[in-house]
């Protein structure tokens, strides 16, 4: 048995230590908001937070996640009110939506470390997250809007 702490809850799972955290989250813990896109840390669809840092669940063995605080998209806020989620809704960022869990988690991690990111900061932090629908222009705008909201701006 391997014990993981996900969104503040403890889960005991029967998994090989090398199983990627992505599949443990999705198939064993049944948190499917974290997406599979590439399996080789190329696309960012599986972005989660481990101890507050963005991480790619697809290349993180469960053994490396033992004893950490894992946060997934389901645990970002109880009701989609995190500033990043609010900004994404306000600017109608999503299209197919498949990459957006990872985009939102990457953006949330960015704003934790950098409350007022520049364009260059956003490019650098978000460049590992692929979106095939081309929502990038809105992601750029929404990260800035989320930063405003986080600093106390009012939702539109």
């Amino acid at each position: 048995m391997i014990s993981l702490t996900v969104n503040g809850e403890r889960h005991d799972i029967d998994a090989d230590p090398e199983m990627p955290l992505l599949w443990a989250l999705r198939d064993l813990i049944k948190l499917t908001g974290t997406k599979y896109g590439c399996g080789i840390a190329q696309c960012g669809a599986c972005t989660i937070h481990i101890n507050g840092q963005p991480a790619r669940a697809c290349v993180t063995p469960v053994s490396a996640a033992v004893g950490t605080e894992i946060r997934t998209i389901e645990g970002l806020s109880p009701d989609a009110t995190h500033p990043v989620q609010q900004a994404w809704i306000e600017l109608d960022v999503v299209q197919c939506g498949y990459c957006q869990s990872g985009q939102v988690m990457a953006a949330a991690a960015l704003l934790e470390q950098n409350p007022s990111p520049t364009d260059a900061d956003i490019d650098a932090a978000m460049n590992g997250n692929i979106c095939r629908c081309g929502t990038y222009p809105r992601i750029r705008a929404a990260v800035k809007r989320a930063a405003e909201l986080k600093r106390g701006g009012q939702p539109a």
Partner: protein, 726 residues
């Protein structure tokens, strides 16, 4: 979960209630839109006891809940707001209060042009607009009639607004009050129900926020790959290492030794490893030993395919268009070009790799997946299993991208899942890894084109002769194969070429159909994706030959076409065409009419060595009526990014009969830092309804390449640009 509760797959076929529901707004209760009510609605118990359902598209509950049932698949293009708001306009309900239910297979949702439920061709709005309005207007009229009877007031004196009926004496009540009485009324003949004038629209033509945003930013939206059923297994399939190869033998002993692997079995497409969860299936496949039998395409390579195509280019092909006498005009012309344009195979690379859940039991099959072609899938799955099509039920989920790939030619991913599920008596989810998806074929065709074109004394074109060699896409689709006439001409091969809006008196098009083992398929904008590049590049070449400005040259060729000119002028004007640009920046322009919409784009580009940087794209579109303008903007942004990604680096090459590329490390796609600023301008128009999902894609590659020519003098005649600049 529905199927578990009803005892097996398809035990309640065609139940109208077993579908995903998104976005719930209760008129009186003020519940925020976009909240997931529950993953599936089950049986009849969820229906309000009093419910008015005048048509398959809508139902109104006594609790005032208005649910619009949508038979089009949501793959990002916004049909779960664009279509509901059309119905809501005539029903007089704020679209933000609607719930949207994903339809099952029902002839009510068939495409008007074909007896099938299908999402593609940028046609969702244009083919449902009238019907959705009529249903909304009919439902509203019946509610009003019920109110008139109850209140003893003539219906003509009642008015409605946002789900409430108002009488002149001040009485008012929500629609829910009248659902029982309305249900007892006969449905009026549709011709007798008046529709609003465009000037009276409250919602159509004004931006409406998507209803699915909330569940797509909190992880709740369910895609096919997220479906989880009790007792479900997960499979991956070892497919041939080359297109057309087959299984000679396999040794499953080591695969079965992997913890979690349940079974290994051969299916027509390869060998399936079936396990308790995805990781075990993947590890099991790594341990599987398969001997493959080479097929007819074992030695195929991009080079051999190019050689075959080049040989065919020299020969007369099937005649696709002959207007005037292009050959004679070319023979007499003094200023002319004879050029070859190459377009590579392209994978769709949807963010969500292909997948499907199937449960086969008792001569029935129930499926859960993101698909663009429910009817075709059901027919082909039924045929594969030897059961009647009515015994196949398909539950459509959200699609993590489609771009044509999920309207799969032979329903490959659905049929394969059914084969894997056969005999298991348990639901099984077949998951494609990214590598499986990229190497799985059904690509935008590899096309070689030869264009001979000439200009007259005034510099304007007098002849255009386009010969195309590629594998036609419709031949690979069950529905499309019926659209190919006896002469073998796939109408999509030459779309956007010689039917261009640019005026050229002598036009000729010829086609050679190739038959390699690599499956081809429609890819966002289909024939326009290649032909838009060829035409707009050649027009630029002719402008250069004539010594004329490419924008003004296009203006001359679009004379007498005010809608095209308005779009071209808007893009050029907004981009400040001809004005001073930052040092080292250059403009390129293109215009393509596709799917009833006209789109022009100006790309601002700089080139440094082999590095191309696209700084800004200015886009103008005339799509007739922009139902949801902000989603039109979103689709232009989307089409530009998708097309730019392909133009810069997109290429599937073939070696030893197989795709060389496999994942995003070898098949790079556009990322945020490379994405240009994109300005979109919607040109007001009273033209017919046009599509928006695809028309943003064709102009970007030629606009960028024309800018590269302006910057460097190098004409890009082979995509991707990275291959030409290498």
């Amino acid at each position: 979960m529905s199927a578990a509760e009803t005892g097996g797959p398809g035990s309640k076929p065609n139940s109208g209630r077993r579908h995903f529901l998104i976005g719930i707004g209760v008129i009186a209760g003020g519940v925020a839109a976009g909240q997931l009510l529950r993953p599936y609605l089950v049986g009849g118990s969820e229906a309000a006891p009093k419910e008015f359902k005048p048509h398959a598209f809508v139902r109104i509950g006594a609790d005032d809940r208005v649910t619009v049932i949508i038979g089009k698949s949501e793959m990002g293009q916004g049909v779960y707001i664009g279509l509901p708001m059309i119905l809501a306009e005539e029903l007089d309900v704020n679209p933000q209060r609607l719930a949207v239910e994903i339809a099952g297979i029902d002839p009510a949702f068939n495409h008007p042009f074909m007896p099938a439920q299908f999402t593609g061709g940028s046609m969702s709005v244009m083919t449902t607009y009238e019907a959705l309005r009529r249903v909304g207007a009919t439902a509203r009229r019946m509610i009003v009639q019920a109110a008139a009877t109850e209140w003893g007031v003539p219906a003509a004196e009642l008015r409605t607004e946002d789900g409430v009926v108002f009488a002149p004496d001040g009485r008012s009540a929500t629609y829910g009050k009248f659902v029982e009485a309305a249900s007892a009324l006969p449905v009026p003949a549709k011709e007798s129900v008046a529709l609003k004038n465009r000037a009276d629209f409250r919602y159509i033509g004004k931006p409406q926020r998507r209803l699915d945003s909330r569940i797509k930013v909190n992880g709740a939206a369910q895609f096919g790959i997220d479906v989880d059923l009790p007792n479900m297994l997960v499979a991956v399939v070892a497919r041939p290492p080359q297109f057309g190869a087959t299984v000679r033998s396999f040794d499953a002993s080591q695969a079965k030794a992997v913890r979690g692997v349940v079974d290994v079995k051969q299916v027509p497409s390869g060998v399936a490893v079936i396990a308790e969860h995805t990781w075990a299936a993947i590890k099991g496949r790594e341990a599987l030993r398969v001997e493959w039998q080479d097929g007819p395409g074992a030695t195929l390579s991009t080079e051999s395919l190019r050689t075959e195509r080049r040989a065919l280019l020299a020969r007369t092909g099937l005649l696709a268009k002959n207007q005037g006498d292009a050959i004679a005009a070319l023979g007499e012309a003094r200023r002319k070009i004879d050029v070859e344009y190459e377009l590579p195979y392209l994978a769709h690379a949807c963010m969500e790799p292909l997948n499907a859940v199937a449960w086969v039991k008792n001569e029935r099959c129930e499926m859960w997946m993101g698909t663009q072609g429910q009817s075709q899938d059901a027919q082909l799955v039924a045929a594969a299993l030897g059961i009647p099509p009515a015994n196949v039920q398909i539950n459509t989920t959200f699609l993590g991208g489609g771009f044509g790939r999920r309207a799969s030619g032979a329903s490959d991913f659905a049929v394969e899942a059914a084969h894997v599920a056969k005999g298991l008596n348990r639901p099984v989810k077949v998951v494609w890894t990214r590598e499986d998806d990229t190497r799985g074929g059904y690509y935008r065709p590899f096309g070689l084109n030869r264009v001979q074109a000439a200009i007259g004394a005034d510099g304007l074109p007098i002849a255009y002769f386009h010969r195309n060699v590629s594998k036609p896409v419709l031949a690979n689709t069950a529905l499309g194969s019926q659209m190919i006439p006896k002469d073998g001409l796939d109408p999509s091969t030459m779309e956007g070429s010689v039917d261009m809006p640019y005026a050229i008196p002598n036009l000729r098009a010829e086609v050679h159909n190739t038959k390699e083992t690599v499956p081809s398929l429609w890819w966002r904008s289909v024939g326009h994706s290649g032909n838009g590049f060829v035409v707009n590049s050649v027009i630029d070449e002719l402008a250069n030959l004539a010594g004329q400005d490419p924008y003004r040259y296009r203006r001359a060729l679009l004379a007498g076409k005010p809608r095209h000119l308005a779009v071209l002028d808007k893009a050029a004007g907004a981009a400040s065409w001809g004005k001073l640009l930052p040092k080292g920046h250059f403009h390129g322009i293109a215009l393509q009419e596709s799917f009833n919409s006209i789109v022009a784009q100006v790309a601002e580009v700089s080139v440094s060595g082999k590095q191309v940087r696209v700084h800004r794209v200015t886009c103008a579109i005339d799509c007739g009526l922009a139902v949801n303008p902000d989603q039109v903007v979103a689709q232009m942004q989307s089409g530009i990014v998708y097309g730019l990604s392909a133009a810069l680096t997109g290429e599937i090459t073939i070696e030893a009969g197989a795709a060389v590329q496999s994942n995003f490390d070898t098949y790079p796609v556009l990322r945020l830092a490379e994405t240009p600023a994109i300005d979109v301008h919607i040109v007001d128009s009273d033209g017919p309804l046009g599509g928006v999902g695809e028309p943003g894609t064709p102009p970007i590659a030629p606009a960028v390449c024309n800018a590269i020519h302006a910057a460097t003098g190098q004409r890009i005649r082979r995509l991707p640009i990275s291959a030409s600049l290498a």
